[in-house]
């Protein structure tokens, strides 16, 4: 009996689906657009996070030494700083590398080029670049360097220049996260309301049929279940359609995006593949639950007689 009813419910749902094909297509289109909005937000959030990480990774503190300092002392300082719990990495750039770097950085500046050519010796000393485990830890590192009196051996500490940028970046990063979160929530709610109403309108168009089913002796669950199953079917087909379209679209635009996003090391396609199960699963479950609840609420109104 149960199996028989289940088979009928599925058959009625499939019949409803293809005999009202235009309504089905409209509902699926709405679901696809909703998923586009949701997925774009997910990817945008991931992109913003990756941008912040990338920019933060570019921040460091540089300790510039005089040219006459001996290599052993610099190595000892490097070793000592490397032991700080707050430090992720310390790199030594020797005098020759420092000069090369400087020349490259000012390759287009003829005045500096000429000035360097007139010098017989390398005017630059070795440099230590320090990266913190977290962008907020730089002040602590500097304090520790001063406490250990390592700054007395350095000619210059290049942090103040970056300090403002780091602070601003942290604030901007936090703001972007907050605003992004709020926008995501707002867009998600709007999208869900659109789907909710689409399902409601779909049920509304069937209100006469629902009434007839009741009048010929159908029990509420027998009327309700095909519509709920149909809603789940919309969700499933909508998700499949969306991901097919999205995959093709991303494949086409990925080469352009790659060159645009090269500095922040963010590949949308890789991100999608790495998180596909989670995003697809989340969206599929969300849409099935949403469609089922919408259908349940909408149909209840017409089942009272």
């Amino acid at each position: 009996m149960f199996l028989l009813s289940l088979t009928r419910i599925i058959r009625f749902a499939l019949q409803n689906f293809y005999r009202n094909i235009w309504l089905s297509l409209v509902t699926i289109t709405i679901i696809v657009l909703t998923l586009l909005s949701l997925t774009s937000l997910i990817i945008l959030n991931a992109g913003v996070n990756q941008t912040i990480i990338t920019v933060k990774n570019k921040i460091d503190v540089s300790l510039y030494f005089t040219p006459n300092i001996d290599t052993e002392t610099v190595s000892l300082i490097k070793e000592q700083i490397g032991k700080y719990a707050t430090v992720a990495e310390v790199n030594l750039i020797n005098a020759t590398q420092a000069l090369e770097k400087f020349k490259n950085a000012h390759a287009n500046d003829s005045t500096i080029k000429e000035a360097l050519n007139q010098l017989e010796t390398n005017p630059l000393g070795p440099t230590l670049t320090i990266k913190a485990k977290n962008a907020n830890l730089y002040p602590q590192i500097l304090e520790q360097i001063k406490k250990d009196k390592l700054d007395t051996l350095a000619e210059e500490i290049d942090y103040d220049d970056n300090k403002l940028v780091i602070e601003k970046l942290s604030v901007i990063g936090q703001k972007i996260k907050k605003v992004g979160f709020i926008i995501s929530i707002v867009f998600t709610i709007i999208s869900l309301l659109v789907v909710f109403n689409t399902i409601r309108i779909g049920i509304y168009t069937h209100r006469e049929e629902i009434n007839i089913m009741k009048l010929v002796g159908a029990e509420n669950w027998f009327v309700r279940l095909p519509f709920l199953f149909e809603g789940a079917l919309y969700a499933f087909i909508g998700c499949l359609f969306f991901w097919l379209i999205f995959y093709l679209a991303v494949s086409l635009i990925q080469p352009f995006l790659s060159s645009f996003l090269i500095d922040i090391n963010f590949n949308i396609m890789s991100y999608i593949w790495d998180h596909f199960i989670y995003i697809f699963g989340f969206e599929l479950i969300l849409m099935i639950v949403l469609n089922t609840i919408s259908g349940f609420v909408a149909i209840s109104k017409y089942l009272r007689t």
């Binding site: 009813s5 049929e209 089913m213 010929v216 002796g217």
Partner: protein, 226 residues
């Protein structure tokens, strides 16, 4: 078979659709329920299938007091009373066969039984050749015959027809009445709600007349007297 005992139905704020209506229809009878528009005929049908609740009085169908029927028992009641409506109430996205079969499917009937009964009832109403048509591909008379076929699938002891010929021409009206008479001859109690004077007068059956919600006359072999 059908008993209305002092049945009153009041719609808010204070419209008495039925007012202390009392009548008793015996098994196998063919009864006309007549009256002008708005006299409570359709309300009586709606009360009979529990589409509405009575305000006062009692309704007994086949010995079952349905006055305060529980919601979960309503489908069971509706499967025991065949109902035919003026507007046919067919499912537009289902074929003739599926419309008739649906009434059996909702009660969990086996596929084999459906395959056996549906062609039988469609033959009774003369639509055995149009099983795969959709309602929109049928004439009004044919649609009403589908509706009658659907009402017969549970082999009901009672058939209620609410203005079944209201949208039909004379020829189709005659055909529908003939089918209803045939069904009555098989032993089914038929309650026919109408305001078609010619039909009532030609059949010479029992006539219950309503006016402003009141039963003003109940005559064996009666005539349309309004």
């Amino acid at each position: 078979m059908i008993e209305f005992r002092n049945v009153t139905k009041i719609y808010e704020p204070n419209v008495h659709a039925l007012n202390h209506a009392t009548f008793h229809i015996k098994p196998g009878e063919f009864v006309f329920l007549v009256g002008q528009s708005g006299t409570g005929k359709t309300t009586a049908v709606r009360l009979l299938i529990s589409e509405e609740k009575v305000s006062n009085g009692r309704i007994i169908v086949g010995g079952w007091d349905i006055t305060h029927i529980r919601r979960k028992h309503i489908p069971l009641l509706r499967r025991q009373i065949g109902v035919v409506w003026q507007d046919y109430k067919l499912l537009p996205k289902k074929t003739v066969f599926e419309n008739v079969a649906f009434a059996l499917e909702v009660s969990g009937a086996e596929k084999e039984r459906i395959q056996k009964i549906v062609p039988q009832v469609l033959k009774i109403v003369g639509l055995q050749d149009k099983t795969n048509r959709y309602p929109t591909q049928l004439s009004g008379g044919e649609q009403q015959r589908v509706s009658i076929a659907r009402s017969l699938v549970h082999r009901p002891k009672i058939l209620v027809a609410d203005e079944p010929t209201g949208n039909l021409d004379t020829v189709n009206t005659r055909e529908i009445i003939d089918i209803l008479q045939k069904i009555n001859e098989f032993g089914t109690t038929v309650l026919l709600v109408t305001h078609n004077r010619e039909i009532v007068n030609s059949l010479k059956k029992r006539v219950i007349t309503l006016e402003k919600g009141l039963v003003i006359s109940d005559q064996e072999k009666g005539r349309y007297m309004l």
